[in-house]
Symmetry: C2
Subunit: 216 residues, 2 copies
């Protein structure tokens, strides 16, 4: 009986996600869904892209968090339109929340919507939000074993970001093993190494965003 209920929730979510996807396609807005553990640097990656891209593509941001508007305030400080979704302790975003958040934007003025999901490597993975691409972020401080432990995210990602590479000299992180784990789960998925502190890799991240917009 419980399984039936779960299926119903997922079916409703999938339908709502298709609605989000159709609405964004109509106005030619690409959409990415960023997922990672808490504190992997998703907000910093968005800030870095906003600074480096200097207004093109035009980016809107949806911030998901269990509580607070701390991340949305950081994005607003970059002069980008942003809507915060507080899940009130909930562990992932769902398409109905994203659909409502879209009402807070002038979509005609945007080329790309970036959704920052709740910091969680498990629960967000099962919920389609209507995105065109998925980005998985791991920071080097979390350990190279994360793809093996949380395989579902890495199987469904269109881009893997390895973040905080400026900290590599101070942690036990084996990049070759990390790449091996990712490659084993999804051969050929691009992996970009980035440090938002030093700026290394930010141009590759921006280039991937530009291509995503061009392909939408």
């Amino acid at each position: 009986m419980e399984v039936k209920i779960v299926q119903k929730v997922m079916k409703v979510n999938d339908e709502l996600a298709q609605g989000v996807r159709a609405r964004l396609a109509e106005v030619k807005v690409a959409c990415i869904n960023m997922m990672s553990a808490p504190g992997s640097g998703k907000t910093s990656l968005i800030e870095a892209a906003l600074h480096a891209l200097k207004g093109f593509p035009r980016i809107g941001v949806i911030e998901g968090d269990p509580d607070t508007t701390l991340d949305a305030e950081r994005i607003a400080a970059c002069d980008a339109p942003v809507v915060q979704i507080n899940t009130d302790g909930g562990c992932h975003l769902e398409a109905n929340l994203v659909g409502r958040a879209l009402n807070g934007f002038d979509l005609q003025q945007l080329d790309l919507m970036i959704i920052e999901n709740v910091g969680n490597l498990v629960c967000p993975v099962g919920f389609d939000l209507g995105e065109s691409k998925r980005v998985a972020v791991v920071s080097v401080t979390e350990g190279h074993d994360k793809p093996a432990k949380y395989p579902k995210l890495f199987r469904s990602a269109d881009l893997v970001v390895l973040n905080k590479i400026d900290l590599l000299p101070y942690v036990d992180f084996d990049i070759a093993r990390f790449r091996g784990f990712v490659e084993g789960l999804q051969p050929g998925v691009p992996i970009v190494e980035i440090s938002c502190r030093t700026g290394e890799g930010v141009e590759a991240w921006c280039e991937w965003l530009r291509k995503t917009v061009a392909g939408a």
Copy 2:
């Protein structure tokens, strides 16, 4: 209707957790439930305690992960009895899983059971596992805002570990703000600062574990 089902699941979990609690009390085994984001260093904290405590208290470990036995292998290498629970993608441990894991130990030979929950700051919090104490772990690379964003864990923790303090010189982490966030959520909860790399704070962590065993 969905809410009713959720309540039923929680009620069943609470009953099973009481069973775990009674079973551990009978053999005088204390139990802690460690929760954090993925990659905060829970396994390293357990390894450090096993090395420093040198066999007393006698510790058993239950490892929770969505996939792999990587963490259990690390604990087994420390010569401690360990049972891995793979949740097959599930986002938290539940009391029925812990109850079954207990069957893998000779409880008469233990003083303390350490449960390493699935790396997730949201979902594990609502599930009583039969523990006597809860430990919340945050590493300095995750940012000082984590208690504010994930308040439920920090309201229910008996100990907060601030881990990886050897990385403080390389990250933007404001300890005073972190302590302020924690204090605002639960005044007086102890906060221990630890680096498993340098050994700083490991003795305080061991002392807290000894006291927890003494109080069980």
